[in-house]
Symmetry: C2
Amino acid sequence: MPPEPVPPTRRLRKRQRTADHVVNVAYALFEELGYEAVTMEQIASAADVAKGTLYNHFPVKEALIAYRMQTDLATRLPTLLAGLSALPTCQQRLRTFLYATGDYALEMRNYLPHYIRHRLSLPVGSTPPEGGSGLDRIYAEMLAEGQRGGEITTRHTAQQLAAALHFLHLSTLLRWLATPGLELQDALDDMLDLFFNGCAL
Amino acid sequence: MPPEPVPPTRRLRKRQRTADHVVNVAYALFEELGYEAVTMEQIASAADVAKGTLYNHFPVKEALIAYRMQTDLATRLPTLLAGLSALPTCQQRLRTFLYATGDYALEMRNYLPHYIRHRLSLPVGSTPPEGGSGLDRIYAEMLAEGQRGGEITTRHTAQQLAAALHFLHLSTLLRWLATPGLELQDALDDMLDLFFNGCAL
DNA sequence: TATAAAAATAGACGACGTACAATTGGCTCA
DNA sequence: TGAGCCAATTGTACGTCGTCTATTTTTATA
């Protein structure tokens, strides 16, 4: 995979520049006024862009947050994955990875509900390009590695397991958001225990 | 629990009558024109009710479907649960229960995406009354029974396990909806295998 | 019967997202 | 370099969801 996927043609570069510009303006407004209080027309006018352009890049409001989180994730991924390869077992790698994304979730706590709603409502239509949030592919890759190492069952495909893990992760985040005193790492530990060992005795 | 929870006071009876009336009118329109094509004002005028009244009973459009499915489920539950008690293990009870709801899901396939979206977006705010769709409580009860029988782990509470199962169930339904050739029972079997046995070897 | 509480009404309103026709700017190929 | 094609952008009107409020009707209670 290329380290810097810069679009080849100028059109696409310009397209991405305006997308970045819009999302930065939007995020600043969100931080200042709160996500719900900021309107799409407000974002458009603050970014000096027509409403149609805004919707051309971000078909729904939550996509602005999704874009932000995707890019944040993309920048943090390399160092994160590098540290992961030192761990011996798939379980440990997954746990520390989820812990790390949990730290980020802590930062983005205010935006998390809208993001999760967005991610959960996507699968209705069709398979989105790039396989969802990108997390799916990472999970699938880590689980496939575990399968090759004989640590993970091969009765299900890695994609299937990754999808289940993704949903369990989101449900854990929801539970954490709704439960004031709950520590996210504890909730993640519970979730991973269920995912790896099941609930049968 | 009372077999027929008829509201005691006349006000509540009348309230429920109008709710039933509205939801019947709405469902007929959905069947005739399709869910998305029917507008809330259309429902209100067809039911001869003010828009405010409609929203008083059903704060969002999907709630009309949820109400319908809740009542359908409530009518089918007794016979369903009766048949279940003959099965020896918790796993078998859960599987046949999910199969049965799967048959109903087959009937309601057109409405399922909207219903799932609705159910998944609820937990963001706070815990809804009656503990979600009612399914949560049923799952929790069945799992608690399994815990008492020594079949299910007690490392997690029954409520926690029920929540995870609920999410896995919804994700399975989504996968089934998005995958044309997939048999729902096969998808449910996969899900239950993961839920009970986990993915570690 | 008088009064308080709950529900229904009508309609205005703000916001999300869509549609469309017209314009601008970048790309391709001779 | 210039003609022409295609994608992005613009402006604006529109439909729909869901909220809000002031007013009226219905039900419960003293």
